[in-house]
Amino acid sequence: MRPGKFVVDVDYAQFYKQGQRIGGDVFLYSRNPEKNRIVCTLSDGLGSGVKANVLASMTAHMAQKLSFSPINAVHSAEIIMNTLPVCKERKISYSTFSIIQILLGEQDGITAQLIEYDNPRMFLFDRSVSVPVEQKRIILDRPAACKDESLSWSSVGLENGCRLIMMTDGVTQSGLGTHRYPLGWRRSAVESFIQQLLKEDEDISSKELARAIIQKARALDAGLPKDDITCAVVTVRRPRDLIIATGPPYRESDDAALVEQVMDFQGKKIISGGTTAQIFSRECHEEVRVDLSSWNADIPPASSMKGVDLVTEGMLTLNRVAVELERRTPVEELPPTAVRSYLELLLSSDRVFFVVGTTINEAHQDPNIPFEIGIRRTIIHRIRTVLEDSYLKETSLSYL
């Protein structure tokens, strides 16, 4: 886990053009194995549907690959542009793009390089204030194109509370031709909209902010998007921490230490497992109540205990949590069981600390419980892997 004081929360939201099942807007983001670099690319392929999607994906994937190579940002962008075909009829490039390369320094300094080609200009916000970004224009030599083509490049330092917001023209041009917005929503109106949202809720997550923006754009298109609408947000903020205690400690004499570690933790808390919950109940002199209002045939009900955000059954629940994370099921689509609450807590956290007790639970040697759920450490390993690889969370693990 990177010891830094801040984390970078990246997320996006998207609607496809009315009637299309595939998008011409493609957003990608990834982190290098050393975890000190994050690259996000938003690309908009000319037109819509499959052809646009192929072009935009190609652009975005190239940008991701090049950004992790030692080639500098501007040169990378030039390579992409010279690889991209130019539309014969319209004499314009097939795909526009914006790239954010984030470098997480040793001393908590976070810098970002922004490279933009023909997408609406990105926004930089410091809390709810829009900060102008100084851009350098770089003219490109592209014989195939009919107009002078240029890239813009900037470098900015990011502090706690800073956000970068990028979007495709489906956002800025939404509402085009309507009485209220004859020229579309436009960048300056989008800016005031974002400002208002941030004034109302400075701590809004990247996901929620992106979603609010595209929902507004879709509303301006009277609910039927005339183009793909995509918005991506990068937020720098203090990490949200979550601790998960699962399994009774190997030595009973460690019970008190486990309970103390969890109860003193600054952040959210989950107790995963009935026996573990009983240890907490005993040590804290707090009652654990089973809540029969939300369960189904596969997932036992959650419980509640004062001072803990979620108390669940152990292996059946954890196993399903692993499966749903691996399937990348959107939380909203899950039935209202403990698994859903579990995923909500996991996904709204940046750093997850697992404390795993290693006592073997005899109940799980029971032949009625499917074999694959029996091994706590295996499941925790699966959950950690998917959290780190697919959701870019940081995790740590300790055994007791």
Binding site: T275, Q278, D366
Partner: protein, 79 residues
């Protein structure tokens, strides 16, 4: 009548999920008999589960149908 069901991993997987479902249905159809359902963490009787307690009395290894008929019996025997 108070019925506590063990909602621990073992009892849940061994059949208490189905028992709870049956009891919820029964309770909704017999509102006059005042059944209170409550969940319980592992009762440490896993190997003999699924475990439930009816008015404090431990009943082990019963499936949904058996629990419902036990319930009916108890209610009929009441004055």
């Amino acid at each position: 009548m108070k019925i506590e069901l063990c909602m621990g991993s073992s009892c849940f997987a061994r059949g208490n999920a189905a028992v709870l479902e049956a009891l919820e249905l029964y309770a909704s159809q017999h509102e006059d008999c005042e059944i209170v359902l409550a969940g319980h963490l592992c009762l440490r009787e896993c190997s003999k589960g699924p475990n439930i307690r009816i008015d404090g009395e431990l009943c082990q290894g019963l499936g949904p149908r058996e629990v419902i008929s036990r319930l009916k019996q108890l209610q009929e025997s009441k004055p």
